[in-house]
Every structure is written in structure tokens, then in C-alpha cells.
């Protein structure tokens, strides 16, 4: 089986040049021949393909295209070649094979304008989503029989119980780092005993709930978006609606409620584990006995810190779960969109949580909960 395609040029007595092809003219060989023809760019009036033993459509296409471009006659093809050439000849067209690329001005200003408009539109959609959720919540509160208890408990397990190990590990390590780094700085003033205040207060007020919210956004917010998005693609959500089941009640409320209930608990759990982490590292590096650290926490950390953390928890949970569900419900079209929306759910949730946390910090200090 010849694996190459050779060409030769011959000029006859009348000065007419013939390009003769020999060998196999298939998809495996047309690449090389095409390169050679582009380099040499010979002029010829006749293309002789009698020496070609093997054909496929790619070969037929190239032979026909070479003859067409040179304005030459194509001769010597066997029956198979004639048939293939006749087939590909009908298939030549002029329409562009790439989607049109808009001009630079269009892309810059057009994209900016589109982004602004879609942002404005999105704000409305988010608002209406929030409204639909609140009204669904009102509905189930008036008729508590409509609360999906099984779904709610299942989501509470997924959001809360199942994330205990990872949240615990993360919090323990964060506690270790705060205590250790704080101690290094405080030691310079001989004030390493304040490591206890630092670890206890910052865990309960800020880091416990904030780190947990980020973890829940990554673990559960993304899962909500991907699950609901996939259900949207497979028309499960439409099926629910036609049966008369409200996806808001069946899918979104259990998830949002589960996150709202579990976030404060997870936040406090996280803060406690962080304190244990701080106590552990202090016992090793500062010589503060483990249980002394813990009893000292009781003395120096005001109860208000616990409330500050506990108040932020449900709000963060609401934000994370709502963003996840909202992005999931926005999925339309392709599977690519699921990935895109999932990413957006996580990014937006974490961003919103951090912004809100800053507001909370200012607010609590202004009302004197310091």
C-alpha cells in the first residue's frame, strides 16, 4: 500500500505543462502534497491522476481544487476517482467557516454596554428571585404541612454534619496559626498571655463564622448550583412545575433553610475548635497549660462575641445558599453553563460574605458591641 503521493511536472512539445500525481491520494498524504504545491506553486494546464492507486474524499478534494485553481483539466481518474470528485465538487461553498468576529470597537464598547445592561437586568432578576423565595417561605409558614421535612433534614445533614470534619480541621489549623503567630509578636512586649484574648475573641467574633461561610460556599453553594443547574438542563424542574410541585418549595427552600439553620452552629463549632487549636499550640510553645488556656478564655472573652458570631451565621448561610440556588436556576442551554454558574455561585457568595462581614464589623463597633 503506497503511503506517499509524488508529483512530477512534464512539458510536452507544444509547451503545455502536465502535473502528474502518483501513489496514494488520501487524507494521510494530502497534507504533504498540499505543502509541496503551496511551496512550488507550479503552473500547469493538465492534471494527470492516472498514476494514483488509492483515493479518498480528501484526495479527491485536493485534486479537484488544484485543477480548479490552476484552471487545468483533470484527466486519467479511474471510476472511483470520478465518483469521489463528483461528490466533493458539489460540496464546495463560500460561506465562512468561522463565526464572525466583531470589530475591536464593537467588542470593547459593546461588551461593556452589554455587561452594564445585563447587570441591571440581573439585579431585577435577583430581586424577583428573593421575592419569590420570601413568598414561598410565607406560604410554607402559613401551611407548615407543606414544609419538606425530609428534604430539609437531608440538606441539614449535607450542609452541616457532613462538613464537620473539614470545617473542624480547617478551624483547628487556623487556631494554631493565630495563636502561634500572635504569640511571636506579643512575646516582644512580654505580653504573650494576651494570646488567649487574641485567639478567643477573633475566633468567636470573626474567623470562625467567616471561614466556615467560605468553606460552606465552596462545599454546598457550589453543589446547590450544580445540582439545580443539572436538573434544569434535564428538564426535571419543568417536570416539577407541570406536576404542580413548586421548585421553590421543593428544592430551594430546604436548601436555604438548612444553610440558615446550620451556619450559626457550624460557626460556633468552628470557633470552639479554633480555640482548642490555639490552646494546643500554646501548651507546646508558650508553656500555658491546655486547661488554663480554656478557663482563661472564659474570663477574657465577653459573651457578646458569641452573639456577634451567632448573628452573622444565619445571614451568611442565607447569602451562600441563595446565591447557589439562584445561579443554578439561571442555567440554560448547555452543560458548559453549569460549570460557569457554579463558579459564579462560589465567587459571588464569598465576595458577598466578605463585604457583609465588613459592614457587620463597623455596625457592631458603632452600636458598642465591642
Amino acid at each position: 500500500m503506497p503511503a506517499t503521493c509524488d508529483f512530477s511536472l512534464a512539458t510536452d512539445a507544444d509547451g503545455a505543462t502536465t502535473l502528474a500525481l502518483t501513489g496514494a491520494l488520501t487524507i494521510a498524504t494530502v497534507g504533504g502534497l498540499d505543502h509541496a504545491m503551496r511551496r512550488a506553486a507550479p503552473a500547469f494546464v493538465q492534471l494527470d491522476v492516472a498514476g494514483v492507486q488509492e483515493w479518498d474524499t480528501a484526495g479527491a478534494w485536493l485534486a479537484w481544487r488544484l485543477a480548479r485553481d490552476a484552471g487545468a483539466a483533470l484527466v486519467g481518474g479511474n471510476a472511483q476517482a470520478e465518483r469521489l470528485i463528483a461528490t466533493v465538487k458539489q460540496c464546495s461553498g463560500e460561506a465562512p467557516m468561522a463565526p464572525p468576529v466583531p470589530s475591536l470597537v464593537d467588542r470593547v464598547f459593546g461588551a461593556t454596554g452589554a455587561a452594564v445592561l445585563s447587570q441591571a437586568h440581573q439585579s431585577l432578576v435577583i430581586l424577583s428571585f428573593f421575592g419569590a423565595m420570601v413568598s414561598a417561605l410565607g406560604g410554607v409558614l402559613r401551611h407548615p404541612g407543606r414544609i419538606r421535612w425530609i428534604a430539609l433534614v437531608r440538606q441539614m445533614q449535607l450542609v452541616g454534619i457532613d462538613s464537620l470534619p473539614i470545617v473542624g480541621l480547617m478551624s483547628f489549623l487556623v487556631g494554631v496559626v493565630i495563636a502561634q503567630q500572635g504569640a511571636v509578636q506579643l512575646q516582644q512586649f512580654g505580653a504573650e498571655i494576651y494570646t488567649v484574648n487574641l485567639t478567643g475573641r477573633i475566633s468567636l467574633r470573626e474567623l470562625g463564622v467567616l471561614m466556615t461561610a467560605i468553606m460552606v460556599a465552596g462545599r454546598s453553594g457550589s453543589a446547590f448550583a450544580a445540582q439545580i443547574g443539572t436538573m434544569k438542563l434535564t428538564e426535571e424542574i419543568d417536570a416539577m412545575r407541570t406536576i404542580g410541585v413548586s421548585p421553590m418549595e421543593a428544592l430551594i427552600l430546604p436548601r436555604v433553610m438548612a444553610a440558615v439553620f446550620m451556619m450559626p452552629l457550624l460557626g460556633i463549632y468552628s470557633a470552639l475548635v479554633a480555640i482548642v487549636g490555639g490552646a494546643t499550640i500554646s501548651a507546646f510553645t508558650l508553656g500555658i497549660p491546655f486547661f488554663n488556656f480554656l478557663s482563661r478564655v472564659q474570663e477574657v472573652v465577653p459573651l457578646i462575641d458569641l452573639w456577634v458570631g451567632a448573628i452573622k451565621g444565619p445571614v451568611f448561610g442565607l447569602i451562600v445558599a441563595m446565591t447557589g440556588c439562584y445561579q443554578g436556576m439561571q442555567v440554560a442551554g448547555s452543560s458548559e453553563e453549569v460549570g460557569l454558574r457554579t463558579t459564579q455561585a462560589v465567587v459571588q457568595a464569598i465576595f458577598a460574605v466578605i463585604v457583609l462581614d465588613a459592614f457587620f464589623a463597623v455596625f457592631f463597633s458603632m452600636v458598642g458591641w465591642i
Binding site: 474524499t57 478534494w61 461528490t87 467557516m97 463565526p99
Partner: protein
């Protein structure tokens, strides 16, 4: 070259303790259109996946165009995957690429040295060859209808001028006009390009219209292979129910086949 394109001997596929295939033998002749039928769950798709190497069979030997699937490739041998094309049920087009780019993917993979212009030209004629309008090449799969997606998938399957074409329910989900057009297209390509076609289908019209032979999957193996009259000459009840049911009779009548079998005349 042997005149057998695919030879399967003693194929067994197990999923856990559940056996899908057991001692399955099948030969596909070069240049024929073989239809594969069988009830749901008889492992038609698993059979196709085994042949194209997506599923590692538990036992058995599969030879495609003289190459054993799953065996080490001899040095200098052409990759067998460049010699077959596969059309998946939903088209399985890459959603981030345009139709033309989808067609170019296998070409780029196997012949990276080919000039970009030539690759575009090949993609263009493949797209039109499968009956899509010229402009479809620049469109993304999400902009196409179900039938157009199948044609685009076929264009990609044909990108490397394969000798062997696998079709998984090519007419499922198409309207009758689209399905008939797709059958014609398959037949035409089969004749023009000399393709061997391995086709899983439930479409009785397709079976009657374009399949040279039909293989019936049941009881974990191929219980019969042959033309439809040959199949009806066997006395397997499932085959009679399949071809002799109301839909089967309609299809037989419209293709003018004389099917005087007891099961049919009785009805």
C-alpha cells in the same frame, strides 16, 4: 485484506455479578450495512462500546480491520482509531467548538502537519457532504436542531475518511422526514465512500430500507444474523414479535417485502 471488517469471538461483559454478554460471536462483512437490534438492556450499546475500545470486555476477542482491540499496537501501524468514525446518539459534539472546528478535531489530532487552509477546506466539504447548509460550519452545536446535530456528528465521524462507521441510533429523535433523509444519506455515503456501517437502531424503517443484514441481540448473545426474510425464517419468538408486530408489518409493507411467515399471516 480479509472480507471481514469486525470479528467478535466469545465476548463476555460483566457488570458486577450481572452478565450482559456471554459467549457472543459476530462477524461484520466488509462493505455491508449491519443493523443491530435487541430489546432494552440487551447490551447493544455495550457491544458497540466494546468494539470501539471504550469498554474493556471481561472475556473474548475483538478484531477490527485485522487489529485486535486492546492489544499492543505494532510499531509503525496506523492507529485503528483513524480508520473508524463513531456517531454517538446525541451527536456528542464538543459544545465549545463550532461545527467546522468539531470536524477538524480528528484531522488535527492525526495529521497535525496539514496546512490550516486545507484543513478548513476539508471541514467545509465534510459539512456540506452530510447535507448541512454551508453556513452551519460556523455555528455552535447549541444553535443547531437535533437533526442537524446528528449530521454534524456524522461529519465529524467521517472527517478522516474512515473505512468503518459506527452509528448509535442515528434516527432516534428525528421526525419521519428527517429520519428518511438520514437513511438516504447513510446509504449514499455507504455507496460513494465504500463504508462498512455498524448501526444500532430501533427504527424498523431504517432496517428495511438500508440494512443489508440485521443482527439480533438476545439472551446475552447474537441469536441470529441475516436479512430480514432470513430472520423471519427462524422460529425465535422475539424476532417474530419484533418484525411481525404492527409497526414491523407496516414497515415491511411499505418496503414491499413479501413476508409470508406463519406469524404474519396469522395476524
Amino acid at each position: 485484506m480479509s472480507d471481514i471488517a469486525i470479528r467478535i469471538t466469545g465476548l463476555a461483559n460483566h457488570f458486577g455479578s450481572h452478565a450482559v454478554h456471554q459467549g457472543l460471536d459476530l462477524e461484520v462483512r466488509r462493505g455491508e450495512i449491519l443493523g443491530v437490534v435487541g430489546g432494552s438492556g440487551t447490551g447493544k450499546s455495550v457491544l458497540m462500546r466494546s468494539i470501539i475500545g471504550l469498554q474493556q470486555p471481561s472475556e473474548g476477542r475483538i478484531e477490527v480491520l485485522g487489529h485486535e482491540i486492546g492489544a499492543e499496537r505494532a510499531p509503525g501501524d496506523v492507529d485503528i482509531r483513524s480508520r473508524w468514525g463513531v456517531l454517538f446518539q446525541g451527536g456528542a459534539l464538543f459544545s465549545t467548538l463550532t461545527v467546522a472546528e468539531n470536524v477538524e478535531v480528528p484531522i488535527k489530532e492525526f495529521y497535525p502537519d496539514m496546512a490550516v487552509e486545507l484543513r478548513h477546506e476539508i471541514a467545509r466539504y465534510k459539512v456540506t457532504l452530510t447535507g448541512l447548509p454551508d453556513e452551519a460550519g460556523a455555528k455552535y452545536p447549541s444553535e443547531l436542531s437535533g437533526g442537524m446535530k446528528k449530521r454534524a456528528g456524522l461529519a465529524r465521524a467521517l472527517a478522516l475518511d474512515p473505512e468503518l462507521l459506527f452509528l448509535d441510533e442515528p434516527t432516534a429523535g428525528l421526525d419521519p422526514i428527517g429520519a428518511a433523509a438520514f437513511d438516504d444519506l447513510t446509504r449514499e455515503l455507504h455507496e460513494t465512500l465504500g463504508l462498512t456501517v455498524f448501526m444500532i437502531t430501533h427504527d424498523l424503517d431504517t432496517l428495511h430500507a438500508i440494512c443489508d443484514r440485521v443482527a439480533v441481540l438476545a439472551e446475552k448473545r447474537v441469536i441470529a444474523v441475516g436479512t430480514i426474510p432470513e430472520l423471519l425464517a427462524t422460529d425465535h419468538p422475539w424476532i417474530h414479535e419484533y418484525f411481525g408486530g404492527p409497526r414491523g408489518r407496516m414497515a415491511a409493507v411499505s418496503y414491499g417485502e413479501a413476508l409470508d411467515t406463519p406469524a404474519l399471516t396469522k395476524a
